[in-house]
Symmetry: C2
Subunit: 344 residues, 2 copies
Amino acid sequence: MRRPTITDVARQAGVSKGAVSYALNGQPGVSESTRARIMAIAEEIGWRPSSAARALNGARARTVGLAVCRPARTLGVEPFFMELISGIEGELSDRSYALLLQMVTDHEQEIAVYRRWWGEGRVDGAILVDLNVDDLRVPAFEALGLPSVVVGHPSGAGSLLPVWSDDAHAVRETVRYLLALGHRRIARIAGLPHLVHTVLRDRAFAEACDGVAEYVTVHTDYTGEEGAGATRRLLSSPDRPTAIVYDNDIMAVAGLSAARELRLDVPGDLSVVAWNDSPLSRVVHPPLTALSRDISAYGAQAARHLLSLISGEDVGPYEDGAARLTPRGSTAPPPGGRDGSSRG
Amino acid sequence: MRRPTITDVARQAGVSKGAVSYALNGQPGVSESTRARIMAIAEEIGWRPSSAARALNGARARTVGLAVCRPARTLGVEPFFMELISGIEGELSDRSYALLLQMVTDHEQEIAVYRRWWGEGRVDGAILVDLNVDDLRVPAFEALGLPSVVVGHPSGAGSLLPVWSDDAHAVRETVRYLLALGHRRIARIAGLPHLVHTVLRDRAFAEACDGVAEYVTVHTDYTGEEGAGATRRLLSSPDRPTAIVYDNDIMAVAGLSAARELRLDVPGDLSVVAWNDSPLSRVVHPPLTALSRDISAYGAQAARHLLSLISGEDVGPYEDGAARLTPRGSTAPPPGGRDGSSRG
DNA sequence: TGCGCTTGCTGAACCGGATAAGTATCGAGA
DNA sequence: TCTCGATACTTATCCGGTTCAGCAAGCGCA
């Protein structure tokens, strides 16, 4: 049961291969009646043009690559990726592009994967996530000439096209909010220190707190375990923070549990803010005050930008709206109430 | 900057295209010295054979398709998928196969996606997940002749190749454990009722409890919201259950919080068991007693089976080990202690 | 009536590899 | 010395589309 080819359709329709091709692609060169007849036959015998044969004629592969480089254990839990992928995917499939996915363990391997995909003509472009400081992938992609969108801050994207969101702004908003509540000892449990957005958040956090509150930043690997561990250490120090900002939601949930183990009430004794709002933030008790963003829309935007880039349009960096703080039950004035500070 | 082709390599090496092809594929027909020279030149100019051109000669696309059909909001949170994909992916990339991913909203759309992929020769096979009762996709895939592995129970897989795990066994083990602790009123907050594994779990749960405990099963859409809602309803009834088994971890976490809102202690007043162990189960307090499986290995096995099927090997169904119960802090004897029942 | 233009199609070349068939070279054996 | 066979290639064809050049028919118009 061989797959039907253009020749089968042509023979059945009594026309040449060329005519079928014109009919299929809506090009002039066939009459409407012939086109209809050809399409009907194609439909009937279930013919679809081979993507390989099309690609051979210089056409696009109509596929975008995404290699994700994170330790498996953090990947599974973080809603961020699935939402991002889901957004990318939605946009791609609307334009009948496919997404080629591969998980890798390090950047060297990721570069090798792209080198292969690009060399083999399997993909037309790539999406680069989890931008590192001095990221090896940026010069590699530049050298390959692989059309790429970087999901991350322009400062680290080199000549590649950045799609980003102002994390510094979100940090400032969060700190202002906590200050307004009266907090004066604020900790931040951050993610991997070599990620560009971690560095930017670190800096913004330090600047926002400087002179108005004691602050400390602890780096982790984003896992709940490290989040809980860091929380325990912070909370068992004599001058424990009255508020903790977590760089993702799984650590915030873990921190919530760690606080409870230590018999601390959230938000009575400790306020908790989670980055990346997700269903998880809403189902725990108390529901988490979180920095919300439409990750799926962000992914869709990245995909749109990449497709524009691929089709040769002239596109510039895209700045998505910054995360908005969504106050919920996990934040309140610190123990002892507001210490007389004014707002703003 | 055109991509180099086999012709470029041939010209530079001073040989014919045929020779380059033989050299590349390790076939006899070129001397070792020539082969080395050709490979060196290929490496130098960064040539890789176009996958499209290869596919045109009847070769495989070396790609496997996975269309995931779940509402976006449940997808993001459940670790299950990312772990499964990660396992599939690891196996595929070891054999330099790629994974083509698409998210769809319903089965009709999923079938359409596969029809296109298969018709266009983009994929060599497919992995079917979230098997439904009377699943439309099974006859569709059979009709297409698309080599497929079904991640789900053989009873619903038709003539497709099933890779499955005995959920009924896991249910029985869980119920036995809860009975041994002394529980006599057990609830189960299940997932979508049209999924084959939900039906199988439902049946096994009813059979295991029948005559020895009061039981009730509530169906949800797997989201934390519905899990929390169902938990509240169950716990506010006069004869509330002393133990609840949740069909996934996000609902278990939501249930944990719901119980806490109602001032019920876990595990003192209520025991909680989660299906699908994940980092999430360990970071909440108390850590959740969970049904653990190596999802990643399961995915890898599904991928291996599919690749065997694609290469025409004769493969039979694969039954993975059933989930093992991992007791943690969320389960204990019911209020009032063991009611004198003996173990076993 | 003849010219040029448009319409609707055909035939052939081409994309980049794989591969079967053909060929030149060389060494070994009769 | 001639043949045989292996070795190391080349040449040509094919895969399934796209696309360009060509061509016949029909039509408007001078």
